[in-house]
Amino acid sequence: MRGAPLSERFRELGLLAFIVLLCAAFQVRNHNFLTLGNLGDLLTNTAILSILSVGMMMVILTRGIDLSIGSTIALAGMVSSLTVSAHRGIHPLVSIAEGVLVGTLVGALNGLLIARFAVLPIIATLGLMNVVRGATYLISGGAWVSAYQMSDGFKAIATGRFLGVRHPILIALVINLAFVYFIEHTRTGRQIYAVGSNPEAADVSGIPRRRIVALVYTLMGALAGLGGVIWAAKFASAQSDTAVGFELSVIAATVLGGVSIAGGSGKPSGLVLGTILLGILNNALPLIKVSPFWQQAIQGGVILAAVLTNVLVKRNNQLFALRTRAI
């Protein structure tokens, strides 16, 4: 819905409040929750999610969706770690570049199908999800790449620290900042919103709609590739069944962040909050000492609660806006 900037901020406050409450609750259950170490772990484990949700936000802004990223993560991770295991000497940056390249190719393929041949995003990416996953099995021959086959440099991509901050957190931070700049302060960034907000208008306004859409999926792929490398380095292992179903978490995070599936609306600040919320759900539940069999139910419940709170807050703002509006 169209909301005045004010109410938009309101709604993110709602999400923020929700997160704070959740943390409070967790802290009560387990006093080690709000410790530096734990928060460090939490952020590190959320970094990959955050990186991908940035891409997913752009995709969803254009009214699209990408189901293939889980497979892309696996493929990129597998390719880069296979290379590393073959030539240990390789510089980490090269590995990253390699993974990103792989991801970009997959993304570009998505973009081609969707922008050039107008295949519905859900179909194109659903198909590629299978194809890419299968390809990963094939190139790996079903084998895993294990810790001892990876160079320390490669593992350091995920475990190393820069100024005391772990690389994944740092990378995610940089990506998010770059994203804010791109989406809020560049022409192309704004055109992404425009395309999602009103495709027809975008055409008559001379916005290269198809190119924008293609670009968005390519970026998504690139980020998935980056995420794949970090994933492989973080767990010091590359499997062909890595990140099965991860796309759903990413979509959930993006939508929790208030990015509307209808396209055109959503803010980076919201995205970050949504990602953090999901990060907490994925990583903190083991901490609250409930039976593992309750974890899923709780996770789902919280997600639903968060989404519904968002809606209710939004409705409230609208009502408020109506009351105070001069007809």
Binding site: R63, F117, A118, R133, P199, I251, I303
Partner: protein, 346 residues
């Protein structure tokens, strides 16, 4: 000046043969040809009478999912509903409930889950169905875990296993049941005012609402039907597995959606026919089986299915290209979600 309006249906062989279903029929035939070339064991009566048993369980989900997608929605919670209802049935049975009642309970629980989805969608129109069912997907399976934890539950009466394994007059019971459901759903969708309204809502929700279509009740009915069929799937699946666990039917949702989409039903709603998905069920089923006979590795199978999906849709796209161009060639827009705000109380 009095002008008259004709009531003869426009007909041309071209448009008749330019229907998506024909491509599917082609693929269907191709699959059988390839399979029988590849494997000597393929062309047998068993293949056609026995094989359906092994892939029809999730096919029951294709029927309502087609409606859901034509409606412009999507439901990714079906797999979880199957698991939950199956688990409840098993537990109820072991708690002493007679099997027939337990089965009834299974259907009830499943329908209830569907209804919950529907209620959430209708009372929170701002939310797209993807989000709602994404959440309930996690919740329903979560509940299944809470109930059965790390246990499996089985030892059902012998006669129950007949459901998934026995034949009636040479035809598998499951096939008969599926045929029956398929006919019912096809008629419901294509021959009744209910089905007509579904198409209307998929094409233009607002206009349908202004035209006096009770959009909420239709959404409720469809989601409940979806739940019900998930229950039916649970019945047959459990019968085939002889026991059940909280982790059954994982990832069914995407498989089912893939079949519906391959069947030529557009995820932007309002378009497509039941025939397509039905064909798709058997195409994928027999393809799986045939390639299994020559022991194709699972990963290759994945690739083939993926390609099948994308390429077939590409063919469709290209075929209707010139029309797309005249329609300003606008990119596909996921009405699935677009309806959210459009319909939200203003």
């Amino acid at each position: 000046m009095e002008r008259t309006i004709a009531i003869d249906r426009p007909w041309s062989w071209r448009s008749f043969f330019l229907q998506w279903e024909w491509l599917l029929v082609l693929i269907f035939v191709a699959v059988h040809v390839v399979n029988s070339v590849l494997s000597p064991d393929y062309l047998t009566v068993d293949t056609f009478l026995e094989t359906p048993m092994s892939f029809l369980d999730k096919a029951f989900l294709v029927l309502p999912m087609t409606m859901v997608i034509i409606l412009g929605n999507i439901d990714i919670s079906v797999g979880s509903i199957v698991a939950l209802s199956a688990v409840v049935m098993a537990v109820a049975f072991h708690a002493g409930l007679p099997m027939p009642l337990a089965m009834l309970l299974c259907l009830l629980v499943a329908s209830a889950c569907g209804l919950v989805n529907g209620l959430l969608m209708t009372s929170f129109k701002e939310l797209s169905s993807v989000i709602v069912t994404l959440a309930t997907m996690i919740i329903f399976r979560g509940i299944a875990y809470v109930i059965l934890e790390d246990q499996a539950s089985g030892q059902f009466p012998i006669w129950y296993s007949a459901l998934g394994w026995e034949s009636f007059g040479g035809v598998p019971i499951i096939l008969i049941a599926f045929a029956a459901c398929a006919v019912l759903f096809t008629l419901l969708l294509h021959k009744t005012s209910f089905g007509r309204r579904i198409y209307g809502m998929g094409n233009n929700l607002t206009a349908s609402r202004y035209s006096g279509v009770r959009t909420d009740s239709i959404i409720l009915i469809v989601s409940t039907l979806t739940g019900l069929m998930a229950g039916v799937t649970a019945l047959f699946l459990t019968s085939r597995m002889g026991s059940t666990r909280p982790n059954v039917a994982q990832g069914y949702e995407l498989e089912v959606i893939a079949m519906v989409v391959l069947g030529g039903v557009s995820t932007s709603g309002g378009k497509g026919r039941m025939a397509g998905p039905l064909l798709a069920v058997f195409i994928i089923g027999f393809l799986n089986y045939g390639l299994g006979l020559v022991n194709i590795p699972a990963q290759v199978l994945l690739i083939i299915l993926g390609l099948l999906l994308v390429l077939s849709v590409l063919v469709l796209k290209v075929r209707f290209r010139e029309r797309a161009v005249r329609g300003s060639g606008s990119l596909p827009v996921e009405k699935v979600a677009a309806r959210g705000p459009e319909d939200a109380a203003q």
